[in-house]
């Protein structure tokens, strides 16, 4: 009996706005309005300025390690616009700042997080977001669970989760993909394939031609897109969210992009990658192509550019000022939210943290009688 093909698939790549600023008008139909293009350009510019200031804060010793988003912002803004603010969920990694801001997270929260202050994770009630996820590849399961809860509760919400190419090597990535697919949970799995997991390039990370094909194993719709193209990032996310909302379950998006900066401020990418490669990707920067597109359409002038840059500086300076001026948290804070109600011994530890090494009964320890003896 001849063997037969029981499964076959293709992975599509979608690009709508190329690096010269030329638009595929057919694919672009019904996607971004001129106004939205300008809005996303402004968001990326502000986020890029935020990166610059964050970098300076770290270099001047006023902030800890920080991972720059530079070069990848088309993903956060496109996806951020496709999701409904205050309604859909965002379960991020740490290179989606713009999406978090667009969905209402106060910008200084991200600085607070990297300044070693948990208040940066204290997500305001109106924001459906989880905080920055430091461990790689474990938070997508939370997205699967949140989406599953939304489905069970009959809520019309979609959960978008972001992660990098390296994260797709983690076991929990596969668990999340499998659970979301089996439960037909409304998740958008958004992989920012930025080519590098710290110093490990994509081809060392995996032996598959694409990241997108990993979704095939989970019976999930999947697409590869140009991650530096706001039309593609918006359309892919909007379509995936639309499918999820209709009960179509999760979708996988591999967004091909590039980390123009170092992994974090603690990293020096010159140790492991060629400048030639970085230069080649510089020309694919989303800001360059959007500006070309806007200028070609008469949507943008040098004057507007200058005004935007000045505005971005003002906004981010104000944000940095807010983060720098916030009063230092008190030590009791790291006790107070351990549990809804603190166990007795934890209360005792909090009360005695500065007074006695034994932390139980000062009288029994002889401490209370010492002043009289002296």
């Amino acid at each position: 009996m001849p063997k037969k093909v029981v499964y076959s698939a293709n992975i599509e790549h979608m690009q709508i706005l190329d690096e010269d600023g030329t638009l595929d008008t057919k694919l672009a139909k019904g996607t971004l309005t001129d106004e939205q293009v300008v809005y996303l350009y402004e968001q990326i510019t502000t986020c890029r300025q935020f990166d610059e200031i964050a970098f300076k804060l770290q270099r001047s010793g006023r902030m800890g390690t920080y991972p720059q988003n530079k070069g990848q912002e088309a993903n956060a803004v496109g996806a951020g616009l496709a999701l409904r603010k205050g309604h859909d969920w965002i379960v991020p990694c740490y290179r989606e700042n713009a999406a978090l801001f667009m969905h209402g997270l106060p910008m200084h929260y991200i600085l607070l997080h990297w300044m070693g202050d948990e208040r940066g994770n204290q997500i305001p009630e109106q924001c459906n977001q989880t905080p920055i996820a430091i461990p790689i590849g474990t938070h997508m399961l939370h997205a699967a669970g949140i989406a599953w809860a939304c489905k069970l509760r009959g809520e019309d919400r979609v959960v978008a989760t972001f992660f990098g190419d390296g994260a797709t090597s983690e076991g929990d990535f596969h668990a999340a993909m499998n659970f979301a697919s089996v439960m037909q949970a409304p998740v958008v799995f958004y992989c920012q394939n930025n080519q590098w997991a710290i110093s490990t390039p994509r081809e060392v990370q995996m032996n598959s031609e694409t990241v997108a094909q990993k979704a095939l194993a989970y019976g999930m719709p999947t697409i590869q897109i140009d991650g530096n193209d706001i039309f593609a990032t918006y359309k892919a996310t909007r379509d995936a969210a639309g499918l999820a909302r209709k009960g179509g379950g999760p979708t996988f998006i591999e967004a091909v992009t590039y980390r123009l900066g170092d992994h974090t401020t603690a990293d020096d990418a010159r140790r492991y990658r060629d400048q030639g490669e970085v230069d080649a990707w510089q020309s694919k920067d989303p800001l360059i192509r959007i500006r070309k597109y806007m200028e070609n359409k008469g949507l943008w002038s040098d004057k507007q550019q200058t005004e935007l840059e000045e505005r971005a500086v003002r906004i981010v300076d104000e944000v940095a000022k807010t983060a720098l001026e916030i009063e230092k948290p008190v030590p009791a804070d790291f006790f107070n939210d351990m549990y809804a109600e603190l166990p007795t011994d934890l209360l005792r530890q909090r009360e005695t943290m500065r007074t006695t090494s034994i932390g139980i009964d000062p009288e029994q320890a002889g401490l209370r009688s010492q002043p009289q003896q002296a």
């Binding site: 474990t138 011994d345 934890l346």
Partner: protein, 324 residues
């Protein structure tokens, strides 16, 4: 009032709370049509549907991680991990995510889940089906750790665990699952987490234990001379630890033996001993004894009773502590 085994008490309590709160869902491997490998969830899928009693893919990390998401999304998930030995793959989600979420978000996001885990040895089970890892989780800030050993307590503690706003590990001692029945009221009642129970009152020595060894200790008490008066404490909750009950008892007796199945080094016995010397130093008549599992891996079942703190070894520990 019905006479129930531990398994039945947990089963009926899950049904009670599922009927009372539609946010409660059960998820895990084989918990649905099969009713779980120990039949703890038997009949619940039929009663509440496969949306609320969910057979998941075979992946403990997936179960725990998605349960965290369910909790964040407004549900009250009760994941089951089939045996304590399989908590390993779920460890990262439990410890690095469930336990930390409330405090790292300064209260903005919480994870109210109760993970049910059969625990301990003594039932001739295969490898990695007989361990006692409670100290690992008691050492994890942000978790609560419960281990009832009677049907009555199992119900009251399970209701408290499910209604607790923080993540709770609810360990179920397998050896006790069907070992006896007792009266369990039909009505709703809770036993607060963090409250130990004085099983028998006494003046000469305190024995602190939890889980299945409570019954081995009772056996040892039966074998002691009539004039020896032992205060037996069942912790019921491992964290938060009921220090007051232990301290009050040891101040009275001056002697203490801690009995547990888990390995001795850095087990809960070590913590309890340290607390006793902090709080009762001047009351002690003898060093605190630990009658525990050994710092070996849990042997396969042919030798498991040589590893576990069985009645003769507990009796000897008590006698030695009394003779000191």
């Amino acid at each position: 009032m019905p006479q129930l085994t531990l398994v039945q008490a947990i089963n009926t309590t899950l049904a009670l709370e599922m009927a009372h709160d539609d946010r409660v869902i059960l998820l895990g491997e084989d918990v649905g049509i099969n009713g779980g490998v120990f039949r703890v969830t038997e009949g619940l899928q039929e009663k509440f549907g496969d949306d609320r009693v969910v057979d998941t893919p075979l992946d403990e990390s997936g179960i725990m991680g998605s349960a965290i998401g369910l909790a964040i999304g407004g549900m009250r998930p009760i994941p089951e991990i089939q045996f304590e030995g399989f908590l390993g793959p779920a460890y990262d989600q439990l410890v690095n995510h469930a336990a930390r979420m409330r405090t790292r978000t300064r209260g903005a996001i919480t994870v109210p889940l109760t993970v049910r885990v059969p625990v301990g040895g003594g039932i001739h089970a295969p490898e990695l089906h007989s361990d006692s890892p409670e100290a690992i989780y008691a050492h994890t800030p942000g978790l609560k750790v419960v281990m009832p050993c009677t049907p009555y307590d199992a119900k009251g503690l399970l209701l408290s665990a499910i209604r607790d706003p923080d993540p709770v590990i609810y360990f179920e001692p397998k050896r006790v699952y069907r070992s006896f029945r007792e009266e369990v009221p039909d009505e709703d009642y809770t036993i607060p987490l963090g409250q130990a129970k004085v099983v028998s009152e006494g003046d000469d020595i305190t024995v602190v234990t939890w889980g299945a060894p409570v019954f081995q200790c009772l056996g040892a008490l039966d074998n002691l001379p009539e004039d020896v008066s032992v205060e037996l404490i069942d912790l019921r909750t491992i964290y938060p630890l009921d220090i007051e009950t232990i301290v009050e008892s040891v101040k009275k007796t001056g002697r203490c033996v801690v009995v547990h199945e888990a390995p001795k080094t850095a087990g809960m016995g070590a913590e309890i001993s340290a607390l006793i010397q902090e709080h009762c130093f001047l009351h002690l008549e003898a060093p605190v004894q630990r009658c525990a599992g050994f710092d070996t891996i849990m042997p396969y079942y042919k030798l498991e009773l040589d590893y576990l703190p069985e009645t003769p070894r507990i009796q000897k520990s008590i006698e030695e502590c009394l003779a000191y």
